[in-house]
């Protein structure tokens, strides 16, 4: 077995390093290290529209996780999943920001948004689950559509990855025993935007 010597003299097995990196990336929701998003010169306006929507949605999802953690209404056992979800949403936002910057756009920042959560959203575990599922399903729907229809292949790979990450997160909010969704619905930008309009402000 080959060994990579750590800089401080710690010997670390390559396999264990790779496994750790994989687990870390999976925990973060997306294996960004493996994604090579080409400079966006080849991207169409429609490709970038999905990126702009995805960026806003990532900020929204991160905010949702933060508020859910603050509210502390879900079982304590879900807190690690909420933190991982927030970390993944933050990484998604970072990646989409880089993508838009590369395309010559001025990407939105979290401060550009004033998210609107209906008053009872964080009052009970049930309403947190309901809202979390609605928000994540809408973003999942848009990412699926993007993965299938965008022009730029590297963008499609990125959105496929985002879809996988968000699909994992939906599980955090579905109650035990809830039926698995065999075919989550893909949503075009208009439908996904309409689904999230009430929250995006």
């Amino acid at each position: 077995m080959s060994v990579i010597a750590g800089r401080r003299g710690h010997g670390v097995g390559k396999r264990s390093l790779d496994r750790r990196r994989f687990l870390l990336a999976t925990a973060s929701g997306v294996a960004l290290a493996g994604i090579q998003v080409r400079d966006a010169k080849a991207a169409t306006e429609n490709d970038l529209a999905y990126a702009n929507f995805g960026l806003a949605t990532s900020y929204l999802v991160a905010d949702f996780y933060s508020r859910s953690l603050e509210a502390a209404k879900l079982e304590a056992s879900t807190r690690p999943a909420l933190r991982r979800g927030r970390a993944a949403a933050t990484l998604h936002a970072r990646e989409l920001t880089a993508l838009l910057t590369g395309a010559g756009d001025t990407p939105a920042t979290a401060e550009d948004f004033t998210f609107e959560w209906p008053v009872p959203t964080f009052a009970t575990a049930a309403s947190i689950r309901r809202t979390g599922t609605a928000v994540l399903r809408a973003s999942l729907g848009a990412y699926q559509q993007a993965a299938a229809t965008l022009t730029e292949p590297t963008y499609r790979v990125l959105f496929a990855s985002l879809s996988a990450s968000v699909a994992q997160q939906v599980g955090t909010f579905t109650t035990a025993g809830a039926p698995a969704e065999p075919f989550p619905l893909a949503l075009d930008l208009e439908a996904a935007s309409a689904a999230l309009e009430a929250f995006l402000g």
Binding site: T44, A56, E111, L189, E197
Partner: protein, 250 residues
Amino acid sequence: MKTRLATLVVALLAGVCVAAVASARPQANAPLTIYAAASLTDVFRSFDSAQNYSFGASNALETQIRNGAPADVYASAAPLNTQRLHRAGLVEKPVTFTANRLALIVPRSNPAGIRSIYDLRSKPVKLVVAGPAVPVGGYTLTVLRKMGLSSVLSKVVSRESDVRAVTGKIALGQGDAGFVYVTDARAVSDQVTVVRVPAWAQPRVRYEIAVVSRSSNKAAAQAFITSVLSARGQTALKNAGFLAIPKAPA
């Protein structure tokens, strides 16, 4: 007789001197000349009716200041205009004083049946926008690009000189839809229906204000800016539908 004549001459000279000094020095109560974006028309007039205003497209006002127009204060709907003048030394350091959002408006009768911005793609529409150099015109292009809808620009029937002109055309039913600021839409809410621009597609609309370098009344000009930034000024802007001064990104 000679004494009386001398007294009269002295008095006249003194009067001339006083008048000359008075015209060279700023007068505390003289109204300022404020050049401001057309979208600020109602709120600035109601906030401080004692000043002389010239409202118009920020880019046109910028040109006038470059050409030596006698403004004391310049308030623009886009940082681009104030920053350009600042770099040229024509205004002092600008400050952000409010923000705004874009909306699509359609006439109350809504002849084109527009319910969503995406309807602009599929329906025959007479679209009214501001010219690309006008801040609201530039912001319109940003919205359409962000939403992947730039193709609807082929439906533009008129490019107006400022946001008020766009609002007026739609209110009068001379177009099927037009992009304006939310605050302008409010001013004609009995004549138009507002179609929301999604938050994720909103441009960053920032208003900046600055003292004009050539102003002969800089103290009063600065005092006006301070009053706009004060709680009273910010409340007036908020009541008119403008947004609070945005936080800087973390």
